[in-house]
């Protein structure tokens, strides 16, 4: 860690709160003025909803908080509330996210701009609670916008940005951060003013919604051509989302001084090797990059923040001309390997002559600790071998 927190440059310490990632998310959600908040607990997400519950009990947020009996019901309630014109927030993790799976499709297909925080935790079997992003990455086909956050501050800011983007393109969005590394680790967080957020995020005004007196209904069976059309519309929204995320981030940076981009290029300008990763691993990789650079190696970091829609152009531009990419996946898709590894290879396809050789490493699957020294080791090992098509298990 650096001696002074980056935020200290722009924020007096008095304006900072020491917050865990979960509580930072709760603050982000609160500032967005949600109207309906379905709550279901699961480790390690529960503190988000408990904090929101505290805000609500203290009368500090004017929202309907409801406590259904499962995440499936929580998401069902989210969708109905969202399509009734209310701004909706919820949070989950792991098994809870999986239980919502049917409804994640339902939400995106229904174009409900729900914002959800997912705390990345291993999925059973077997049972465990450790950081691993397989849970949300396994939802990459559902149509949700996905942002992966490295720090509590980023989580807070991303939640707010997510509402703006979701409501603009009419797609649900999830902001993901790793169990414990981000969810429970505490750091100084700048909590913006409500007035600032109000200026950034106007009230939610959908074109279509369910309400007595409005002659429109949702969810009726449609024919093949119409279904095809809805998918094309969804595709167009995803395309639009790329720019929308970038624009929302730019606007936020203007207001607060904090921006994260669709991807972040760290010391990549003259690099011959790019470490490519997401989430808290990016923070560890950042430290490893500094060490590698200090050791004379031209290594940089490409942090992928926006995962869905996949930021094709930004990734291709960032990696073009770099000789080697080392993907660190704290996730695993059985039968194919690291998910970012696969997506990256596909994203780079056709970048003739300028595409890096891609190494895919399964680093930290199941929550195994990955230190900067280990990353240093992984990068060095990759330098000494040919890239493999399959992802490699590393320890």
């Amino acid at each position: 860690m650096s001696a002074t927190h980056p935020l200290a440059e722009t924020h007096p310490l008095a304006d900072l709160q020491l917050l865990s990632g979960n509580h930072a998310v709760a603050w982000g959600a609160r500032l967005a003025r949600p109207q309906v908040i379905p709550v279901y607990p699961i480790t390690p997400q529960s503190p988000i909803m408990e904090k929101l519950g505290d805000f609500h009990a203290a009368g500090e947020i004017d929202a309907e908080v409801l406590t259904p009996e499962s995440e499936h019901s929580a998401m069902a309630a989210c969708i109905a509330a969202s399509l009734a014109g209310a701004r909706v927030f919820t949070a989950t993790a792991s098994q809870g996210l999986l239980l919502m799976h049917e409804l994640l499709h339902y939400a995106a297909g229904g174009r409900a701009p729900i914002v959800m925080c997912n705390v990345n935790r291993t999925v059973a079997s077997p049972w465990a609670f450790w950081p691993d992003a397989t849970d949300s990455l396994a939802q990459r086909d559902t149509g949700w916008i996905q942002l992966y956050s490295e720090t509590p501050q980023e989580s807070l800011d991303s939640i707010i940005q997510a509402f703006r983007v979701a409501e603009q393109v009419a797609l649900p969005a999830m902001v993901c951060h790793d169990a414990f590394y981000v969810s429970h680790a505490m750091e100084p967080v700048a909590v913006p003013d409500q007035a600032l957020v109000d200026g950034y995020l106007p009230p939610y005004r959908p074109e279509h919604f369910v309400e007595p007196g409005r002659a429109e209904s949702f969810g009726y069976v449609i024919d093949q051509a119409t279904f095809n059309r809805t998918r094309r519309d969804l595709d167009a929204a995803m395309v639009q989302a790329v720019d929308a995320v970038a624009a929302a981030d730019d606007a936020w940076r203007e207001l607060t001084g904090r921006g994260y981009g669709l991807v972040e290029r760290y010391r990549l300008d003259d690099a011959d090797t790019a470490i490519v990763t997401m989430g808290s691993m990016a923070g560890t990789a950042r430290v490893a990059v500094d060490a590698l650079r200090a050791a004379g190696l031209r290594v940089g970091l490409l942090k992928v923040r926006l995962f869905r829609p996949f930021p094709l152009a930004a990734v291709r531009a960032a990696l073009a001309g770099i000789g080697r990419a080392v993907v660190l996946d704290r996730n695993y898709s059985p039968g194919v390997g690291g998910i970012l590894h696969q997506e990256l290879k596909a994203a780079l396809f056709g970048l003739e002559g300028r595409a890096p050789a891609v190494h895919g490493l399964l680093a930290g699957v199941g929550g195994v600790n990955v230190t900067p020294a280990k990353i240093h080791q992984f990068v060095a090992d990759c330098a000494g071998r040919e890239p493999q098509p399959q992802s490699l298990w590393v320890e």
Partner: protein
């Protein structure tokens, strides 16, 4: 609007989808005849007037009634009510007390002084009606309503025929007869009483009038073969009643045996009871076969008649002290094919004796056809009640063996229509065969909770045995209404909205005066037909 702005949001209405293409059977509203209507001798619209009564429109009910029968107060007392025998309600619990309801309407009309609607039609032709009994009065009424000039000739001093001179007042008070006849005269029927028509007068009437209707009834009593009517101890039943009507109390011994089982015999017997006589009724028919109405038998027994049914007189022994021994035997009575025909078989070894002081035979009437040169026993008529005598029609007891007052009224009504057609051929009737009456199976009895039939109130026997006041009393107003509610209204729509509201497809629209099927939506499920409480909707095959 049916062009969606979004593929996810539906803002149109399914009303553009015409599900009527699905069906293979279609419901339709057709008022069908009720079984009471088809059994009624005057073809009354019974379901309709009971419905009007039920809906609180007794005047409307009366107008409907008098379309076919100008004598509801009379009929409501003495009609043999074949409607009740046909009533579908009997299969659920008991037949509707239609006759008493007709009386309720008729009595109300008399009390309120209701008049027939004014005659607005005008015809130049004139019809002579011979006989002022129920048949003659009925034809006179129906012809006068059509605008014809009608002159009615009656031999007796007053109009009414059997209504006045036959049926005793304890069954039908004179005031009732007066009231209902007066209304007919008020329409402009000219009545000449005390004018018997002989052959010469008949011929003159045939020349002077455009049509003649013979309704002279059957005024001649049938004679019991083998009985010496010259004996002082034999008084013909009709004579007994006539003397009573004239204000007298016939001179007889104390113990009377009335021979006969019809209404006339019961009339005589109960009249004699009121004269303080001990009366036995001796009838060929078994009690269950008696042609008299059941009410009359029951009331008569309450009044102390002794009934000896299924037996016949074989011979009489007159004793020196004036008393009689009647030698009788039990018989088996088998009705024949036509009314009035029968066979009687004495039962072996069943002889018995009755002691009496007088015998009052009351075995039926015959028509006197002398003025008409008819060959009898009845004046022959065709299906239009026309005689083979030029412009002569006939009806009632002179032309039919159906010896019922309301049958006579019905015949008069039919003859009036026939006369009208004959005199004005451009008004040819289009005969549509009437469909079959609504069967019980077509009635959804869920909508008709079981309820006992209203009992006809009667005065206690002790209170009626020494006077001629009416025995049967009117139904109380609430009892009449409750009884009207028991009517199924077979075949008539009662605007209950069942079809309209039970349709899952909103395929029945409600109109100001009924309902219509929205054929563009109707799927032909048949719920409307099944849930119609009256059978006024039927399914037919096809679209």
């Amino acid at each position: 609007m049916n062009t969606a702005t979004s593929p996810l949001w539906s803002n149109g209405s399914t009303a553009v989808i015409h599900t009527g293409t699905w069906r293979s059977a279609t419901p339709g509203y057709n008022e069908l005849p009720s079984p009471c209507h088809q059994a009624c001798p005057v073809g009354g619209s019974i379901a309709r007037w009971i419905g009007q009564l039920r809906d609180g429109d007794p005047f409307g009910a009366w107008l409907t009634l008098v379309e076919n029968n100008p004598f509801p107060a009379i009929a409501g007392r003495i009609c043999h009510h074949p409607c009740e025998a046909a009533c579908n309600r009997a299969e659920l619990d008991e037949a509707v007390s239609i006759c008493r309801l007709e009386r309720a309407v008729g009595d109300r009309a008399l009390a309120a002084g209701w008049r027939f609607p004014e005659v607005t039609a005008r015809r130049d032709q004139r019809i002579a009606v011979i006989g002022g009994g129920p048949a003659g009065l009925s034809v006179a009424y129906q012809l006068r309503r059509r605008g014809y000039g009608v002159t009615l000739f009656e031999a007796q001093p007053a109009l009414g025929g059997l209504l006045r001179y036959g049926i005793p007042p304890y069954r039908l008070a004179d005031a009732i007869v007066d009231g209902e006849i007066a209304r007919i005269l008020d329409l402009g029927v000219e009545a000449r009483t005390g004018q018997a028509i002989d052959a010469a007068a008949f011929a003159r009437l045939r020349r002077e009038f455009d049509a003649v209707y013979v309704a002279t009834g059957a005024a001649r009593s049938k004679r019991l073969p083998g009985l010496d009517y010259d004996q002082t101890w034999v008084i013909d039943g009709a004579r007994y009643l006539a003397e009573t009507n004239a204000g007298g109390r016939p001179q007889t011994g104390q113990r009377l045996v009335v021979i006969g089982g019809g209404s006339a015999a019961l009339d005589v017997a109960r009249t004699a009871r009121r004269h303080g006589r001990d009366v036995t009724v001796l009838a060929l028919e078994a009690e269950g076969q008696l042609p008299a109405q059941r009410d009359e038998v029951v009331e008569g027994l309450e009044e102390g008649l002794t009934l000896v049914a299924g037996a016949m007189l074989q011979s009489v022994t007159a004793h020196a002290d004036g008393s009689l021994t009647l030698h009788c035997t039990r018989v088996e009575f088998v009705p024949g094919a036509a009314r009035g025909e029968f066979t009687v078989t004495p039962v072996a070894d069943s002889a018995f004796e009755l002691a009496a002081d007088a015998i009052v035979p009351s075995i039926g009437q015959e028509a006197d056809l002398t003025p008409f040169a008819g060959s009898g026993p009845l004046l022959a008529v065709d299906g239009d009640f026309r005689c083979d005598l030029g412009n002569v029609w006939a009806g009632g007891d002179v032309a039919s063996m159906e010896r019922f007052v309301t049958a006579a009224v019905g015949m008069g009504k039919s003859a009036a229509a026939a006369i009208d057609r004959a005199l004005n051929p451009e008004r040819a009737a289009h005969f549509e065969a009437e469909p079959d009456a609504v069967p019980y199976a077509a009635i959804n009895t869920h909508y008709h909770p079981p309820r006992a039939r209203a009992a006809t109130p009667r005065r206690a026997p002790a209170e009626r045995i020494d006077n001629f006041d009416e025995v049967q009393l009117a139904l109380a107003a609430d009892a009449a209404l409750a009884e009207a509610e028991r009517c199924f209204s077979c075949g008539s729509c009662i605007y209950c909205d069942n079809c309209y509201l039970y349709c899952p497809d909103m395929a029945v629209s409600k109109l100001p005066d009924g309902y219509a099927i929205r054929t563009e939506y109707c799927k032909g499920c048949g719920l409307c037909v099944k849930e119609c409480p009256t059978g006024a909707i039927q399914m037919r095959s096809g679209k």
